[in-house]
Symmetry: C4
Subunit: 203 residues, 4 copies
């Protein structure tokens, strides 16, 4: 087993424990992956609790989502990870989490518009709070290939996108490293709580 | 003492610590049980703080709720546990927790209707977010045998039910194992917080 | 140093750490005491952070609030502790905490009325959720002897009272032991969060 | 390396861990400093996660904000720290945090007015809850020298100020020691949550 695989697995286990402490990975929701090389990735296997992952909670898969380990099945949503790695060789990590705010906002809004928040600078290429960040929301579907194709087409048309929500289902975001992607999750969850509180005060 | 009893007790102690960290077992509220065999169960004894349980916080009781250990009294709500084990030999664990959301929603609603949430798939037999889950709410009562009979009749009529609330009093859910039932609690508490936030935004 | 003093001090230190983890003792607010004997008590000294107490954060004082240790000054609110110990020899602990909900509710309401909550059974003498619990709210004052006299007169007239709030200033409750009083705090903070959420939903 | 530097660094690392546990330093937001002497300070370096700081996350800089360590760049907002140390030789610590409440309130209000809260006594010179504390809110800007000059002019005109907010960007406060400044943060975050809940109830 390579050092890289072992290191990435440790980073994803720690990420899961942090998310669990925040309530962002309830029950067996959510899934995490990290790129291993040009053609393969490490991804959480199906049905794991993401706050209590151990070394056995992962498998290697190729970028078509085919398991490279006999007897282990990747997460049902693997296609939403592989679509990102195939789009962009610079992407090294994809994290899907499932917070209350991501869920509720995705059921109330058509998209999440972020403007005027200093924390927007946590995203690559954003230099000022005066920028405007759009987080699209896709309808939920159990047809993952169709959903992945829809995401892919949207990202072709909107290449600056840093994350998206699936309605009633949570957040997907990505980055060059696990640490990068964690920073995106922290910034987005912070912003979602701000947006929720703003919505309440607006009513 | 059997290995099974020791393992189940450890799992229930850990469950209580997790619930306490979330504020779901305030004061000496809540009670937990796990099936030991065809005719007996392990249940928390009366008056314990469920976040600081130790080995002495439990007793063996039969499925009529009679203590099998001299000098130890089972929880006052034992009848709500035994009714589940008698109904269904596949049930291996019953957990009653007492969160703010379970309490407040049970005092505002006639029933909790869950629809459109991906997390609903945490429950057995639910394959899609398009399903519709109904959590009934029973009036609170200090007459536990009467309440148990009411629950039993409701479950006969609605066998797909995964959990219920007692008004002002919290949540009961069950599963084949402690881990299973924990997953239900996590999913339900997540959903209750979503429902609470939706209610606030709806006003 | 007596074993009792050492044990009580340890219990109050642990209570402070728990309260701090919940955000109920911000900055140097709050103060804790426990009865040592018929004529003396242990109380937190002035200006301590109650979440990071050590053995030096306490002093012995008599039930008129006079320090029994040279060079150590008891909390400015000592008179609200001694009035309780003088009233009732069965009282073994008085805890004052300072949560957001205790603060906000005390500034919005004339009194907190609790009815229909199962958790009310955490209080001595309460056997059913059908009881009705009244938590009075006193105007804040920097004149502690006057405030203590007002509390004393109220408790004479309403001996079933289990706790009170001071407006903008937090909660006082008491019990026979530290564990007892901790149970009251947990139950009350749970109920205050319920009341806050009910108020929001009522608007 | 001096004992003072080592001690202060340890205090700021611990402060960051505490803030992170509360969600007040999301992503790589926030920055912390402490005075080392008449002419220099310790400050977090650019781009660090403030909840996971280690010894390498800091650098020495002079009070014009010039790094005294080759290859290390101070935080982009260094000028908001140095302006305070230059104003007042008694200031020993400046902390900038970035909570949801500080962010949301700064985007909804012209200033935060605090009155009637006992916790106001956590600030130097405040002896009673009857005082009135004003926390000004400055428009956000990426031009830090201009923002620092604006803060400086405000503080000249309002020397009793204990903290300020930058719109959409968080809180700045200061004190004679790290412990002092931590107490201010805890008190202010407590008060911001109170103000947010009051605003919601007012609507």
């Amino acid at each position: 087993m390579s050092d890289t695989l072992s290191r990435l697995r440790g980073e994803l286990i720690a990420a899961g424990q942090f998310f669990h402490s925040k309530g962002w990975v309830p029950a067996t929701s959510s899934n995490f992956s990290a790129r291993l090389g040009a053609e393969d990735m490490l991804i959480t296997s199906s049905g794991q609790h993401k706050g209590r992952l151990d070394d056995n909670g992962f498998l290697r898969a190729d970028l078509q989502g085919v398991s490279l380990e006999t007897g282990k099945r990747p997460s049902a949503e693997t296609g939403l990870h592989t679509v990102m790695y195939r789009r962009d060789p610079a992407i090294g990590c994809v994290l899907h989490t499932h917070s209350v705010n991501a869920t509720v906002l995705s059921m109330r809004l058509e998209e999440v518009v972020l403007a005027g928040y200093e924390v927007q600078k946590a995203f690559p290429g954003v230099e000022t709070h005066e920028s405007r960040l759009m987080i699209p929301i896709f309808p939920n579907s159990q047809d993952i290939p169709a959903l992945a194709a829809e995401v892919n087409a949207y990202l072709d048309a909107h290449p600056q996108t840093v994350a998206y929500l699936i309605r009633g289902h949570g957040l997907y975001t990505w980055g060059t490293t696990v640490a990068d992607t964690l920073r995106h999750i922290e910034a987005l969850e912070f912003l979602f709580e701000c947006v929720y509180r703003q919505l309440l005060l607006d009513r």
